[in-house]
Amino acid sequence: MGIDGSVLGLLTATFLASAVEMVEALTIVLALGISRGWRSTLVGAGAALVALAAVTAVVGVALVDSVPESLLQLIIGSLLLVFGLQWLRKAILRSAGLKDLHDEDEIFRSESEAARAAGTQRRAGLDWFAFVVSFKGVFLEGLEVVFIVVTFGLNARSVGLAAAAAAAAAVVVLVTGVLARRPLSRVPENTLKFAVGLLLASFGTFWAVEGLGTFSDAGESLEWPGGDLALLGLLALWIVASRAAVLTLRAGATQPETQRSG
């Protein structure tokens, strides 16, 4: 797999990851905007986006300027692995019916109720509750995307491209949400999380193992058997392993009922 494969993976993973996280952030912003008013809510969301851009710049520059290549691969790969496996674990459990699906409508209802019940405190001319909750919602949902953008972008030497893919997804989700004026509950979140989890786990495994070369005498990246083609093998491995896990967990979850009915 050459540069094109890496760039395609970069664009797909960052776009999908950003889209999923923005769907969740949009639910919070919509609930606050409709319940408490739009000005403070949008100021909070905008401040969070500025903070996320600042974190992207600081973390990106700090990693590039101060870390050798193989160690950078190890850090990048490990972060992607941990994030990717979190997404994959939840997607597998949801596909197997062992964890509730993310219900944007229910979250929208509970966020709206909490927003209406909260008292009013004004600071700097803003509804402070709407500002803080909107800021936290967008910042926390976006922070994982920032790390995905930085890590993928650094390895493909294109943080700008990764950031553009993430920003495009955010625009698509936000525009769709504003036009619909309701949470995007029909977006197949679990399928998207499954896809992102598989991509992050594959790239993460690839780069983290390459980065283990930092512990060798030469300090150079390890070589995968088959070179970059190993990435496709890893993707296939994660797809097969996660599918097997879903089927096994699903069978295990239904087995007690079968035994009882039998």
Binding site: V82, R89, E144, A208, L222
Partner: protein, 70 residues
């Protein structure tokens, strides 16, 4: 001190997620890979396969002995 604890808690939740055993398993698998690399007792291919098997195994253990919230 309270802010430090909150800060630490945030990063723990961010990195470890719902099931800390996945992150711990990744750490152990990569540590074994690092040990094999540092001692030069295995080829790159063997290190890659051992580390990958360890990572997949860590996820499997976490999934089939679930302790985290559903």
């Amino acid at each position: 001190m309270r802010y430090l604890a909150t800060f630490g808690r945030f990063w723990w939740d961010f990195i470890a997620g719902d099931d800390w055993r996945v992150a711990a398993g990744v750490l152990v698998a990569l540590a074994v890979g690092a040990l094999l690399t540092a001692t030069s007792i295995a080829s790159d291919a063997v290190v890659a396969m051992v580390a990958t098997a360890g990572i997949v195994g860590a996820v499997a253990v976490a999934l089939f002995t679930r302790a985290g919230p559903r």
